[in-house]
Symmetry: C2
Subunit: 178 residues, 2 copies
Amino acid sequence: MNFCSNCGSRVDLKVPEGDFLPRYVCPSCSTIHYQNPKIVVGSVPEYQGRILICKRGIEPRRGYWTIPAGFMENDETMEAGAAREAVEEARIQVEIGSLLLLGNVVHARQVHVFFRSRMLTPEFGVTHESLEVRLIDASEIPWDDLAFPSTEYALRRFVEDRAAGVERYHVAEMHRRF
Amino acid sequence: MNFCSNCGSRVDLKVPEGDFLPRYVCPSCSTIHYQNPKIVVGSVPEYQGRILICKRGIEPRRGYWTIPAGFMENDETMEAGAAREAVEEARIQVEIGSLLLLGNVVHARQVHVFFRSRMLTPEFGVTHESLEVRLIDASEIPWDDLAFPSTEYALRRFVEDRAAGVERYHVAEMHRRF
């Protein structure tokens, strides 16, 4: 950040009075520009025991496999965002279920909120965000070609929990891998 | 947002190619300025069966009771943020426990992530963010003078779950009340 988004003046980086972290502060209009983590919402979609995965069509990690997920937008709930991403990445209609992962991705300044979801019909398709979409058995998950640590973590817990007949939530920290 | 925080030019509000929502876009340097929900992290601190609450010393809702919570910062986990807020608002040291509430606060463009927490010692105190701090029995919760819908929701579920001997998580939408 170089300029104040409110008045266009050049900002200073300093600790505001009563604060404890440096912030971008505007010397002209006094606006303090806070920067905070972003939320990524998504789900592991299931249809009659099979799991839906998408091959990423955009960077980062183009060509690697993931579950439908993306940045949460203003004016939507986490569940609505996760369902929207399922449409955008795989053209599927889902019903969002239980919480699967609440992931701290500190290095990326993100929190990943992933749910289990149920596909309402078996239809799916590619979009400009996905090169390929597949409905697979758990035994076919391409563990070596997953896009992100949180993708792997979510799928491993999903499969384990399902085998155990439970729907647990997991709070975990994802470490940089790439 | 009026100006590009990268180059200082006046921004346009338009739907970028391939997107579906209007964004602030810089006509000079092409930066797209996304705006996303912020995360509020906090906890319901407990010490030997009593619950800690704080009377807010800052706006919004100054003078109303709340649990220690605030905006999650970059470069911390949700749990670290919730523990930091406990220090900042009540001078308490806590161990963060199970997830209590994952709250959609759509009108405020926030997600509230509240945990249960255990105070490591009975010491507490006021700070510049709190007018008063109390360690109370559940029967003393000032239900009519709580700061936010998520404060009430979290405390009600905390008390109910504790009475039932369980530590459930709750995903819910908080509606505007004030």
